[in-house]
Symmetry: C2
Subunit: 199 residues, 2 copies
Amino acid sequence: MPKLEFWYDFASTYSYLSAMRIDAAAEKARIEVIYRPFLLGPIFKAQGWSTSPFNLFPAKGQYMVRDIARLAAVRGLPFRMPETFPANGLQAARLALSGETEGWIAPFTRAVFEAEFGEKHDITDPGVLASALQRIGVDAKAALARSTTPEIKERLRAQTEVASARGIFGAPTFIATDGEFFWGDDRLDQAIAWTMHIA
Amino acid sequence: MPKLEFWYDFASTYSYLSAMRIDAAAEKARIEVIYRPFLLGPIFKAQGWSTSPFNLFPAKGQYMVRDIARLAAVRGLPFRMPETFPANGLQAARLALSGETEGWIAPFTRAVFEAEFGEKHDITDPGVLASALQRIGVDAKAALARSTTPEIKERLRAQTEVASARGIFGAPTFIATDGEFFWGDDRLDQAIAWTMHIA
């Protein structure tokens, strides 16, 4: 089955939009989605940004909230901005990576995004992450323990380095097997069409 | 007829994409397009940027060129990046404003964008602007002379101030009569649908 990499940061509002539709779109196109959580923070820092551009440039941040609200409404998705933006997605991303080998990275990713941008929850709160795990039928205590092992920490660090080395500068980013690169929820359909075309 | 404002900078690649399709899309929807050329330079400067973000962040700039090339190919548009990016669009924007009252702002806007991103011409060259005027049947000498009058200079300055005051931070931006605001060529269809809906 042709593959498409889905690079996302748990703090990213546009990643939320893509996470909630990528599996259905890929299934229709008979494409496999490879989930690639990473951290945008170090990449923004390398660009000289201390926080999200939506905070650095308030007009852009205000517009983003309105833009997401409009798109979410059309797609029937709830949308509420959490108190703190961007949330630190470190623990969520480590948990997601723990779920990769165990086969629950996709539903966990959706559960976290739903809690964050649908229900306005703080995803740095271990209780919120435990709820997301329980919602998808995963033993929360065991998963939380495994997510802080040196192996998982190192995998997230390495994945973020790969993102940076590949020139990823924002999220979501979709990368086809031939290296073709698509940035933004706006480009998801195009990325899927490309992946079908090269297969 | 319902109206939609189209705010654009002649240096902007995504504005090129929108300029080449907005009139056809608006005509189909029975909407009037109000052309609003302005200068992004002073707005970027206020954000602390000395040039286009596509130059400040090279990975984003490289991606933009690829993204535009893909979209242009799908739409049957030629695309070649000019030697200097971003071009200084001051003279082109003043000329466009001169054409507003005379009724040729739309075809002139398309002619300049075609020369710049279709044929890789330098739009700071008065010869290139004169050709664009001739192509649409306008007396180039008279138009070039009128475009440097204090009245036109002041109109562009004021229009750029209005853009800034309205919170415009990039181009193209589409603004509906109720103030609803859409940023990016990606949002043109949504802006048109919105305009039809509120009419």
